[in-house]
Symmetry: C2
Subunit: 289 residues, 2 copies
């Protein structure tokens, strides 16, 4: 199991993420093929030279010739695909994905794949507010995190190759988490932040607010522009962890509100000093150990 | 009452905002002087050529010679200053400010100033996460909003001159609001967003979260790095409006949480589509009418 210039890479799903993978890997000299059910996406990718070839149907030849398959589909579509076509994948093929939730996906995919086909899951923590292969861009991986989520069924070789893939894609930080730890983390860092942005955007319909908006409000609501089909699915799949984080945030927010109401200035200041100190840890330009 | 190159401008308070005003106005060819109680700030501003002169005490000559005085102080310091030294300001002088809350400040200042001294309040909606004249920078006004908040006591000439000041500072959008409408707007767009950022930053103390953080979480917590002395004062002065906005947000957030818990996918998607449509109004590059 190796990832080199002879490895035949198949990307299944040519949206923003699949397209960005294809761009990055093609630029690195790999042979990248794609399967998508959107003829327009395939034509675009061929015309732009993002892929060497592909099909707008499940082409058995493309699947069986692949040495590495990357699934870039919505979670339920990914699960359905593996159930229906997983048997086409030849033993020895490495399978990975880009799915944003793991616990409810990884074990089921590993159970469904034929013997000799290893699935090593990964989450590229990158994105844009726009969708589709037309907006794909390998630069979204710069300064971003790539998380591999192995299970007991994974081999060290597959984990190493998946990490190599992350490096070739251009991610600046590669790390490992269990599927459960990943989902807890993503429930907080990504899903909770999206819930907050949606509600901040929706809780005040006064007209003309946009005339006075500064960067703070813009920053906090940037991700309120959201793909409702994809994110509602991700939220529901990770419901338990997300609800826990939403409740923690709501309790903290209520506590701050009560300090304001009772005029507890010192309590508010202590909370602000804590948030200031915590935030310093998250600076992008903080030197990494 | 005019603002031209002969106008003697006095900035009282040489922090980030006073320093940025001084830089911008000096660059535009005005004669800018400053009063601050920090000797080091004064020396820095003189050395950098940001001001033509100044004092680290309330210099009666500087005050009486000023044609325009800009107060860039914390609200309670501003009120105390006017109470103690307001009588030094000569009739015909125009007074303005940079205070981030208006209702509790504007009327009291107008009542305290001597006859013939007009106070026209303004809020430059700009800032940085760093403080002090050393971090001042007139570029913070680019693409930012400048809001004039006149009362019944203000003359059209003073309002026009205050708006001219905003243009000379380099603000891209100048508008007018009543003090009450300003405080309601700022309670939502600025203060509520800061409360949210603080609580998001504080509600999960798990170690190593920073290793996985993407841009979403960074964007939503950028302003969690906050000047606790200034913001606790601003929150408390605007307590009533801020509490109302906090409660609206909390109710919206709870509603979204309940949709998640009950698996109301269509309800969540409708909220996401609403936030997506609303957010488009707030795009920075949206053409202004």
């Amino acid at each position: 199991m190796t990832l080199n210039k002879d490895t035949n890479i198949l990307v299944v799903g040519l949206g923003l993420m699949g397209g960005s993978y294809a761009r990055a890997l093609t630029k690195r000299g790999h042979s990248v093929f794609a399967i998508t059910n959107e003829r327009a996406s395939l034509d675009f990718a061929l015309r732009e030279g993002i892929i060497a070839g592909g099909a707008d149907f499940v082409d058995e030849g493309l699947v069986s010739r692949a040495g590495l398959i990357v699934f870039a589909l919505y979670p339920h579509v990914f699960l359905d695909w593996v159930k229906e076509y997983g048997h086409l994948i030849r033993p020895g093929t490495l399978v990975t994905d880009v799915t944003g939730v793991k616990t409810e996906v990884v074990y089921r995919v590993q159970d469904m794949l034929p013997p000799g086909v290893e699935f090593i899951a990964a989450h590229p923590m990158a994105g844009r507010e726009k969708y589709g292969v037309e907006n794909s861009d390998e630069r979204i991986f710069e300064n971003a995190n790539y998380i591999v989520t192995p299970t007991d069924k994974n081999t060290p070789e597959a984990v190493a190759l998946c990490e190599q893939l992350g490096r070739e894609l251009g991610f600046s930080r590669i790390s490992r988490l269990t599927p459960e730890a990943h989902d807890d983390m993503i429930g907080f860092l990504s899903q909770l932040t999206h819930c907050i942005a949606i509600c901040l955007m929706n809780c005040n319909d006064s007209p003309h607010l946009e005339d006075y908006t500064g960067d703070s409000f813009r920053d906090l609501t940037r991700i309120a522009r959201i793909n409702d089909e994809m994110w509602s699915e991700l939220f529901l799949i990770n419901r338990k962890a997300l609800l826990r984080h939403m409740d923690s945030f709501a309790a903290c927010f209520q506590g701050f509100r009560d300090m304001l109401e009772t005029g507890d200035r010192e309590g508010m200041r202590a909370a602000m000093r804590h948030s200031t100190a915590r935030r310093a840890l998250f600076d992008k330009d903080k030197p990494k150990p």
